[in-house]
């Protein structure tokens, strides 16, 4: 592995061989073919699913083009979030400033679409050219009577994770602005689910069966009104370690709402998520409902998984995803299918995540932070993986190496959360790993 960037050595460990803690939350090295994105990307993906808000991207055209409807975050109502609005800054705006353009764009859009709130994303050059986005937002807020919220997400200003934090800041300007709502005794907010492939709807159904009211989801199938009254909920249930913890912490401090971290991937984590909530509310009936739900789901799911498990038993998987929390769930979910995780990494994991991963994985598993295609393909070769789980940039590399692939990112086509999600996951992994195409790779000559 001598070809790897020397300075990256600390960001790669093999369980059982190195005892050192993995180095993470570092900036990527200049010159690396990193799979990571930027601050803007982090903020954009978190706020994007709020379907009745206006999302305006202040900057040159690219940032708006590349994020136009790329996230499969479903809305049961408005589709405004799927359009792409940009101030499309030109050279003369860079010289003279883009504030006026932003003001006009916002005024025009708000008049036309009557959104419930507006988010204004600052891209790289906005801070550099000195636009006072806050001031423009304040002015439009005053004139139009809706919240126009600046999202200061200049791309260079940290990592994607910092973008999550900035998005949380934007959300917290909405949370607590509607005091009129009175939820039931047992009420929660779901934080960190984005309703990819309709996953939120699955979870909402589960919680409903438990007798728990969902006050808001941030931000899957999100609505401004629900976010305004989110502070009325009794508990915050937070998924995905990276994106929403900041907001949960802030809501705890400000409104005294406790939060718990959960994951909805795989049987174990999904069931825990339901039990934990029931335990929190200390309600025997709710716990009984949870047990029943889990029993019923599992009694159907386990036998249904069996045929897939038989075919997948002993196969090896490599995981490289955005957040490490997801990776943890995936290791467990793969284990349920009889598969062993041989490589696991993330773009934005923190020390706690990696510690957990290290405990969870078998000896010999390579654990890596902020990896790149060369490393990943080397690891796959070294470990003889049969499956790769990742996002859009990893898919073709995996395929070129002759590996099955499962998209666990924005472009997932099937819901992977919940019990039905576990079933979908098994089917997808099975279909890809056992595809007849793999036997044709070597030509007959």
């Amino acid at each position: 592995m001598n070809q790897f960037l020397k300075d990256r050595e600390t960001q790669i460990v093999t369980k059982g061989k190195q005892s050192a803690e993995i180095a993470c939350e570092k900036k990527s090295l200049a010159g690396s073919v990193s799979q990571r994105a930027c601050v803007f990307c982090g903020s954009r993906v978190v706020l994007y699913p709020i379907a009745d808000a206006l999302h305006v991207i202040h900057g040159p055209v690219g940032c708006a083009s590349y994020t136009w409807d790329i996230r499969g975050a479903l809305s049961s109502g408005p589709q405004l979030h799927r359009l792409s609005f940009t101030t499309d800054l030109k050279e003369k705006d860079v010289v003279f400033g883009g504030e006026k353009k932003l003001y006009h764009a916002l005024s025009e859009l708000i008049d036309k679409h009557q959104p419930k709130a507006a988010f204004v994303f600052s891209t790289c050059i906005i801070g550099v050219i000195g636009d006072d986005v806050e001031a423009v937002c304040r002015q439009v807020t005053r004139e139009k009577g809706i919240d126009v919220i600046p999202v200061m997400s200049e791309g260079f200003n940290g990592t994607k994770k910092d973008g999550y934090k900035i998005a949380c800041g934007a959300l917290s300007r909405l949370v607590g602005t509607d005091d009129s709502y009175k939820p039931s005794k047992y009420s929660i907010n779901i934080l960190g689910d984005f309703n990819l492939a309709g996953e939120l709807w699955i979870l909402a159904e589960y919680y409903k069966k438990l007798g728990v009211e969902l006050v808001s989801c941030m931000t899957g199938d999100g609505r401004v009104e629900q976010i305004r009254r989110a502070h009325k909920a009794t508990l915050n249930v937070v998924q995905c370690s990276g994106s929403m913890v900041h907001l949960a912490k802030e809501m705890e401090e400000k409104y005294g709402i406790p939060f718990m971290k959960v994951s909805y991937f795989g049987i174990e984590d999904m069931s825990d998520a339901l039990y934990e909530v029931a335990r929190f509310f200390k309600d025997e009936e709710m716990m009984q409902n949870a047990r029943e739900l889990v029993r019923e789901e599992i009694s159907q799911l386990l036998p249904a998984l069996q045929p897939y498990r038989q075919k997948l038993e002993g196969k090896k998987a490599a995981i490289y995803v955005g957040g490490a929390f997801k990776a943890i769930s995936l290791v467990k979910a793969l284990r349920l299918l009889g598969m062993k995780t041989v490589v696991v990494g993330s773009q934005t994991g923190n020390a706690d995540d990696y510690k957990l991963l290290k405990e969870l994985c078998d000896d010999g598993t390579i654990i890596v932070d902020d990896s790149n295609p060369n490393e990943l393909s080397e690891f796959v070769k070294l470990t003889g993986a049969n499956l790769f789980i990742g996002g859009v940039k990893e898919r073709p590399i995996a395929h070129k190496l002759g590996l099955g692939f499962c998209d666990h990112n924005h472009e997932r086509k099937e819901a992977l959360a919940g019990y039905v999600g576990m079933m979908n996951f098994a089917k997808e992994v099975y279909a890809s790993v056992t595809s007849p195409v793999w036997k044709f790779i070597n030509s007959p000559t």
Partner: protein
Amino acid sequence: MILRHTTKEVKERTALTVNPAKTCQPIGAMYAALGVHGCLPHSHGSQGCCSYHRSTLTRHYKEPVMASTSSFTEGSSVFGGQANLLQAIDNIFGIYDPDIIAVHSTCLSETIGDDLGQIVGKAKDDGKIPEGKHVVQASTPSYVGSHVTGYANMVEAFVKYFSFNTNEKIRQVNLLSGWVEPSDMREIKRITEMMDIKSVLLPDTSDVLDTPMTGKYKMYPKGGTTVDEIVSMGNSMKTVAMGEWCSKKAAIMLDNKCKVPFSLTDVPIGLSATDRFVQALSTAGKVSIPEIISEERGRLIDVITDMHQYFYGKRVALWGDPDTLIPLVEFLVDIDMKPVYIVSGTPGKRFDKRMEEILSEKVPEAKYKNGPQADMFLMHQWIKEEPVDLLIGNTYGKYISRDEGIPFVRLGFPILDRIGHSYFPTVGYQGAIRILEKILGEIMDEQDAKSPEESFELVM
């Protein structure tokens, strides 16, 4: 209706682009650089830019797309990106070992005033560029032009850096194909070979973004124009530059620097543009047009004749990039269709002039617009005013197609939801037949689906 927000009345907008019909320069620079052998594109800016371009190209080609980034931080935005780029150059040659690094700038690095030429010069002085390796650079701020200009700037940068006239004329023709697919580049080479002309095509993404599956991953696939080839372009007899927006800059550079004259022609999409291309090749290569090419042309005309009734009078809306739209619109007019709405987010004054030449007589009612606010929102408004029979453009037309129930042929960049563009060319006479096949497929499917039982036809 996903586009339920589109209103019918077109109101003048000045500050706002909705659903853009373009993207930014750097992705074009990245695509062009991928068409040079052993070259790693490098994005001098924030990490997100590089990640977005790679993702978009990957979605379009379903292929690994490699590029590195200067990974700007807050510090770089204050003190400049020189340190990042120097470190990047060092790291890239040390680890990824390309023959060439093709650096392009971004809006951020341009706004803070980074001078790529000066930084690369310093890298050279500091001995960070190993013997026999190269760093090429192009200025591509996102607030100027579009992805198309980024492509043109990078191609120009390659010939500026490498091409050299050693006073030994080679019997060879330079081909600048413009921003077309790997399949199109293959087809352009095939046509040139059929005419028995030795050529160098720059860039050449065939065998880079359409590579076979072998079970092995190669960071630098076998395709791409080689350094030797680009150097030799300075000794060629002539350059055939296809497309004013994408190829003219590099052609002028070759003329100025190496005294290789050029003929500027359109990207050979459709009948007339391919005629002109073949003619330009024949002049440049001093060869006559072989029978085999005339036969391909004849087959195209045969298809047009056979199917004319289905094309005649159909109203078409198109969007995309000027270099492909101009010959495509001309082709539609040639086959008696009516291209009535055309938008391109890419600026450039010649667009209006070319469209007027093609359309003023045959389709006087046509509306066209390029540059700011020439976006998919405007296109949708026009369509709402008076509908069309067919849409032709990149994937972003699928919302209009669905909401308005209009048949849709995917052509252009990006295509995120269909395959085929990597493998089946749309340039040349054969490519034109493919365009017709796609148009007819859509029109006839529509007819089959919508016609009443009594007029549902078996034979069409």
